[in-house]
Symmetry: D2
Subunit: 154 residues, 4 copies
């Protein structure tokens, strides 16, 4: 549990409250008999999108065809703690850990039905202009709102 | 080998010549230790696109952003004959089996490195207008070209 | 709606009752802006497994490591009726349509949140002996139970 | 290019020589029109496995059914630099960056057909005993061999 984005694991875990539930699909296992390592990032994406929708802030998922800017994944990390198996029911917790000028850091925590930590992660989202490909600053209002929702002060 | 789209298997196999090679990825296996059944359709898509590009006909893959019509998959079938395993090298053969007014039937044949038939398949592509969602007839020229490339007369 | 496994669509639809709900993931879309055609088979697998578990019959999913026989997909078909988009909530209905000596035919129906039929499908599962790779007949009890659950007589 | 695993980018890039080529599949794009962020990890896995096979060292991929230990992914990171599109041909470079007691750090570099850096990454593999789930130390021979292959001294 020495991931570089976690200073104190007990503290870090406490800040999560929102989660998305997923059941591991058969097609998401591999011949080692467990969830393939690439799948955690699929869950992260699903959880992140549900979280942003839940917050109703910023980054409109660009599901809207007229969006001028979209949230782009700048980086991703995942640390695998306990193996995950077919049919496991995971809670993918998400929280905002940092608000930048045009970006957002989201942290992830996955627990199984036995409440065991299976994997953790983080990643930065950047608001990008579709036409120019350049980052778009968040408005002061958005920043303030996101900071208030985040766990930065904790 | 009683797939409803194959009358005479020996004849049917002979008509293929174009193929795309794929190596089965670890992430494409499942806990039963073989290639997951959903993966054959990923290979079909890859092979179909390479085949259409090779032919240089019709359906411009809509990779071009200004395309007014795109090829839409109307249906797909796959018959699994022999199991496929991690690291197997498959040849995914494709051929045009039928040319409709605004559609195209493509047949698929997958063989492994031992030249064993692993799975077969077929599916219809329809040329669709992006704005209206309706089918777009092929031009007489395109039809003639596709028929000449197809195995219909065989 | 002329799929070869559907005689009368109105009748065919009525026989479904069990369903699995899925929400279309962002990673399951493609650059055409809709659900990629390969994804329906992932949903079929998930729905089929939940259905068999729900029935509590046969084919123990081989999730049990000591299983001597596993259910193998012999063939699959999908007919795409209406496009599916990111975040659509689909009900994947499943029913047993035929019981063979060592196999089972399952039919699929996917409806979106507007109750529109998005795609339909079918496929055969065969009970296979892990060691020999050959099909294993269902017991008379299992067959009787499956037939009673199926829509064969309808 | 401020990934925490790269001190000097120019130096870091120079140490790669082995690569695996992949062509981005249509099904690997998403509705934003580019390669979905989850796909880089699929490529990392493919490249890593080909690299280990190429080296002929250690971690026998557990493709062998009698393997007592298998390589497990302990963590993964990816930094996205330039967008990747359908049909892009990527070279996924891999190198051993660190050899631990029972683990291995692998670094990744993805370049497209224009020789642009698209994404970079890293991750730790741990040799795990299948029965106990515990890490298995590398032999001194294996370690020496891996260190000689690695870029540690650079």
């Amino acid at each position: 549990m020495k991931a570089n984005y976690i200073k104190n694991f007990q503290e870090w875990v406490k800040d999560f409250s929102f989660y998305t539930e997923v059941r591991v699909r058969f097609s998401e296992t591999d011949m080692f008999g467990h969830m393939n390592n690439t799948v955690s990032f699929i869950y992260f994406e699903q959880a992140r999108i549900e979280y942003l929708r839940h917050l109703g802030v910023l980054m409109p998922l660009a599901a809207e065809h007229e969006a001028k800017s979209i949230p782009i994944v700048a980086d991703l990390q995942c640390d695998y703690i306990n193996q995950v198996f077919f049919n496991d029911v995971l809670r993918i917790y998400t929280k905002i850990a940092k608000v930048g000028n045009s970006s957002l850091d989201i942290h992830y925590l996955a627990k199984n039905q036995k409440d065991e930590v299976c994997f953790t992660g983080r990643g930065t989202l950047v608001q990008m202009d579709i036409r120019t490909g350049k980052s778009v600053p968040l408005s002061e209002e958005e920043k303030a709102q996101l900071v208030s929702l985040s766990t930065i002060s904790h």
